[in-house]
Every structure is written in C-alpha cells, then in structure tokens.
C-alpha cells in the first residue's frame, strides 16, 4: 500500500483537499481520479509548479513559511502535508494554520526513528542517508527531522487529536514496533 492509497482511503468522496508542498501534483491527481476530490496544491518550486499545471492540477505558488493567509477558515475538508513537515522551519504555527483552514489535517513524514537511521547514527556514526532520506546533511531541504514519538508529543502539546495513524515500510503497513520498524508515518489529526 502506498502513501497515496492510504490517504485516498481516508478522503471522503467529493471532499475538498488542500495539499501543501504538492510537488508535481501526483497526489492531487490521484485523489481526483479515485475520490473525485477537487483540490489545490501549494508549491514553491518553479519546475514543480509547471509540472502541476501540465498535470492539470490547481497549484498556487506560495511559501508555506508565510502561513496560509490565502485560505479562509474551514474552507477545506482535508489539508495534507505530505513528506514536507521535515522541511518546514516553523511546524507549530503551520499545524495550527492547517487546522484553521481544514477540518482535518493529514501529515506524513519519514520516520527518523526507523532502525536503519538509528544504526547509521549509532554504529556508523553518520547522519542517515537512505531511500526515504536521500540527502547528505550539508545539502538537504530537511531542517526538522522527527520520530513518531516526537510528532505525537507535538500533537499533544498543540492539543490535537490523532484520529488515525498508518506506518509503512516499503509499501507495507507496520504494526509491530512502528517507531523502530516503520520508515514512513501518516497521521490524520483534528483540532
């Protein structure tokens, strides 16, 4: 099961979706095709914005760090932050903004507690580089890595309710020791 399939399963048909850091718009296209969910993406990268337009996906070239002022309160059913959380400087205000604009937030991120990452730090003694985290430490868009435990602590701190959690490794759900054995975490949360 892919991340897109997991998210699509959560999205009610026809729901309004905002995808923050939408890349080339593949997820939005998938949600439109499988759930008839109309949406908008937010993306800052020039080339990806053009890809979205080519993919016939609504895209708004805005900087997430500036907040979500372009969007009215409760104007979306779901606000998605897919594998972008770790690249944001100010997570707390963005999470709050997501739940101002949307009824629910869907957040996914590479799990820094995944055993391969732990081994690379603990035994090899270097920052993890893997399929999920392909960047060298000096050349990465990622600024705030976290683990499942860290993210759940942030949700508690912001008094957000975790409605559902799926942890994946190589497209397979992980239920045993997810913070150790899962490489990608996907959460559905509400205020």
């Amino acid at each position: 099961m892919t991340e897109a399939e997991t998210i699509a399963r959560w999205i009610k048909p026809g729901a309004r979706v905002l995808d923050l850091g939408c890349g080339d718009g593949a997820l939005l296209k998938h949600l439109w095709q499988t759930r008839q969910a109309p949406g908008y993406g937010v993306e800052i990268d020039d080339a990806k914005v053009v890809e979205c337009i080519r993919n016939d996906v609504n895209v708004l070239q805005l900087d997430l760090e500036d907040g979500l002022a372009a969007f009215a309160d409760s104007s979306f059913d779901y606000v998605i932050l897919s594998e972008t959380l770790q690249a944001i400087h100010k997570q707390e205000p963005l999470m709050q903004e997501m739940l101002r604009v949307g009824r629910e937030a869907i957040v996914s991120f590479p799990n820094f507690g995944f055993w391969k990452a732990r081994i690379q730090i603990a035994f090899a003694g270097h920052m993890p580089v893997s399929k999920e985290l392909p960047y060298q430490w000096y050349d990465t868009p990622n600024v705030h890595h976290c683990t499942l435990i860290d993210f759940e602590a942030l949700c508690a701190r912001l008094r957000l309710r975790i409605l559902e959690r799926v942890v994946l490794r190589d497209g397979n759900p992980v239920s045993l020791l997810p913070n150790l054995l899962g490489s990608l975490a996907i959460y559905r949360v509400s205020a």
Binding site: V49, V50, I53, N58, A70, F71
Partner: protein, 368 residues
C-alpha cells in the same frame, strides 16, 4: 507570420460607464490561426497601456513591425495559433485604429479631441463583446492580458461570465493603489500643463503636447522597471567621459528615459494617454461590493490562471494574491504563479522559461 489589420464597424450606440454615449465606433483587430468549426478555440488578447491590436506577426509592407507579444503568440508558441484562433484588439479611446480622440466626431465632422468621453475597462470589455458577436464567437476558450490587459481579462469574467472559459491574468491588480494613482496624476499634469495641450484641442492647431507626453512616459518607465533591474541595466554609468557640471545628459539612465520619452511622444496621442490612465485609476470591481473582492467575484464562472512577478512594485504580487484569495473564496478553479524575476512590471513581456512553460502547459490542457 504575415498578418493584416482589420476594422469592425458598429453603428449601434455604446453606453459608457460614465453615462456618456458613443454613437458609433470601430474596433481595430488582427487574427492569428483559424477559427474551428465548433467556434470553440478563440482566445482574446487584451493589450496594456501603449500597445495595440498588433499582437503577433509582421506586416507584408512593414516586416520590421513585429507584434508586441510575438514571443507568446504564434505557431508553436505558448499560445499556439496552430490550435487556437487568437484575436488581438485595440481598445476604444486608443490612437492606433479603434475609435478614439483622434477619430472624427460624427456630430461635428472634426476630431473628437477633448470631447471624446472618458472610457473604462468595463466599456472596453463591452466593446470587445460587440467584436466577439461580429466574429461569431459566443464563448472564448480564454481571455488573456498583462497589466492593464489583465484587468480586461478579469473584467470579462465578471461582465460576461458565461462567455469566458479561462481568464489568464498576468501582472495584474484588482485596483490601483494611491501610489499608482499618484504616478498617473503626475503624468496627466505633465500633459495638461504643456502649453501645446490647449485643453485637448490641439489637433487643428498643428501642435502636439510633446513635452508633457515625454515626461509622462519617463515617469511610466520608472515604474515599469525594478530598482535592481534599472541598476543592473544602467548603473551609474556616464554618457560622457567626465561629469559635465551642467544639465545635459550625464547618466545612462537619463539618456534612456529621454530616448523613451522622445520615441513615445512621436507616436502616442496625449488625449489617449489621459484617458487610459483614468481607466486604470477607476478600475475597481470590488467598489460596488463594499470593497469586498470576494463578493465581486461571486458571479465569475471561468477558470483562472494568475501570474505575478516578485520584483513588480507597480502591481505587486500581493495584489495578485488578493485576486487569488477572492477566487478561492468563491471556489473557482485557479492556479497562481509567483515568478521570482528581477525585471519588474515589464517581466510580463519577457520570455522567462518558467512563465512561458506554465502558459504553454496551461493552454495545452484547454480541451476544445
């Protein structure tokens, strides 16, 4: 691409927003590509302050005269005339072919001059709708423009919601700022205080308020470029070996502005300039809705592409974001590009690969 300018004549009166009536009028236009059998591939291109209906291509008898958006419009260009039937039109009040102050007033048999009414963006769009009827186009695949042209693209979606499938709004603002109006007023004062202006009735006196037009254009050019672009292009480079300690041209930028002013004053009409700047000043679709742009856009049905350029301080990206916000509030289909370009307002005329790539992709996805 060799093109031929045409004119359409309309004998029905056009009631203007001011209340004045234009008893009859002509619109100069050009077309590129072929209208398909379903009449579904027409794209209207609206021009900005000093341009005309000559959007693309050249004239058989004047090959040097290339259309002002020739990099955007043509066979294989982002707005591909192999797919679309593109119409360039000249707004009324212009001095390039459509009825304007230089045209003959049927009531007097003399040029309208100062008596030509003040026209608005809404009036231009109403006149363009007459042209669309004339050409047998019920619904445009897209209406597109930059700057003042973008205001027309916006207004089309408001005046004739059912007649526009896509509105492409580039380097736009939904209303001028006080600073924008201030620059326009300085330009108008330059023209109106020129002794050769004669209250707008200068045609039969054999003079042109050239000094005023020059200054108006110089002011305009300052607002079209960003500070950085101007510094990059001209810096503090001197035209002479050493400073002259007089008031002749010292710096390159002075020479540039004088050149632009001279050129402009040779081809542009002062009465037209006054009216265009007024049309800009008056445009404010939110005005009838208590200043609420979201309410103003409630009647729009088109899909939108909005493009801004980060160094444009004349119509800043923040103003385009206002438009996007109003469209989102109305759940319109919209994409927005905020292109990090250094050139300022004039960036909309340049072929930045991101900007052109996006437009090519957008037009490519318009199903006919």
């Amino acid at each position: 691409m060799i093109v031929t300018p045409q004119k359409a004549r309309f004998t029905q009166p056009l009631k203007l927003k001011s209340g004045a009536v234009l008893p009859e009028f002509e619109i100069a236009y050009e077309t590129y590509g072929e209208l398909n059998a379903a009449r579904s591939n027409a794209v209207l291109v609206c021009h900005a302050l000093n341009a005309s209906h000559h959007v693309a291509g050249t004239y058989a008898n004047d090959l040097e005269n290339i259309g002002w958006w020739d990099n955007m419009v043509g066979p294989g260009k982002p707005l591909d005339t192999n797919k679309f039937f593109v119409i360039g039109n000249n707004y009324i009040g212009s001095c390039f072919g459509s009825t304007g102050p230089v045209s003959t007033n049927p009531a007097t048999g003399k040029p309208w001059g100062a008596d030509f009414p003040v026209v608005t963006v809404e009036d231009w769009v109403a006149a363009q709708a007459c042209l669309a009827d004339h050409l047998g186009i019920e619904r445009f695949a897209a209406v597109m423009g930059g700057s003042l042209g973008a205001m027309q693209a916006l207004q089309w979606a408001l005046s004739y919601p059912a007649r526009v499938r896509n509105s492409i709004v580039i380097a736009a603002t939904p209303r001028l700022s006080a600073q924008n109006i201030a620059f326009n007023e300085v330009a108008r004062q330059a023209i109106m205080t020129d002794p050769d202006f004669h209250g707008g009735h200068y045609y039969d006196k054999g003079v042109v308020p050239r000094r005023g037009l020059r200054i108006a254009r110089m002011i305009g050019h300052i607002t079209y470029l960003s500070d950085d672009a101007m510094m990059e292009k001209f810096g503090r480079v001197l035209r002479r070996v050493t400073p002259g300690f007089d008031f002749d041209v010292d710096f390159e930028i002075e020479s540039y502005l004088r050149h632009q002013g001279d050129k402009f004053s040779n081809y542009f009409d002062a009465n037209t300039y006054l009216r265009i700047t007024k049309a800009l000043d008056y445009y404010d679709p939110a005005a009838d809705y208590g200043g609420d742009l979201s309410l103003a856009f409630a009647r729009a049905q088109a899909d939108f592409l909005v493009v801004s350029f980060t160094s444009d301080w004349r119509f800043s990206s923040a103003r385009s974001r206002d438009i996007v916000r109003a469209l989102l509030d109305n759940r319109r289909v919209v994409s927005y590009l905020e292109i990090n370009a250094p050139q300022g307002h004039d960036a909309f005329l340049l072929d930045d690969p991101r900007y052109f790539g996006a437009l090519r992709a957008y037009f490519g996805n318009i199903a006919l």
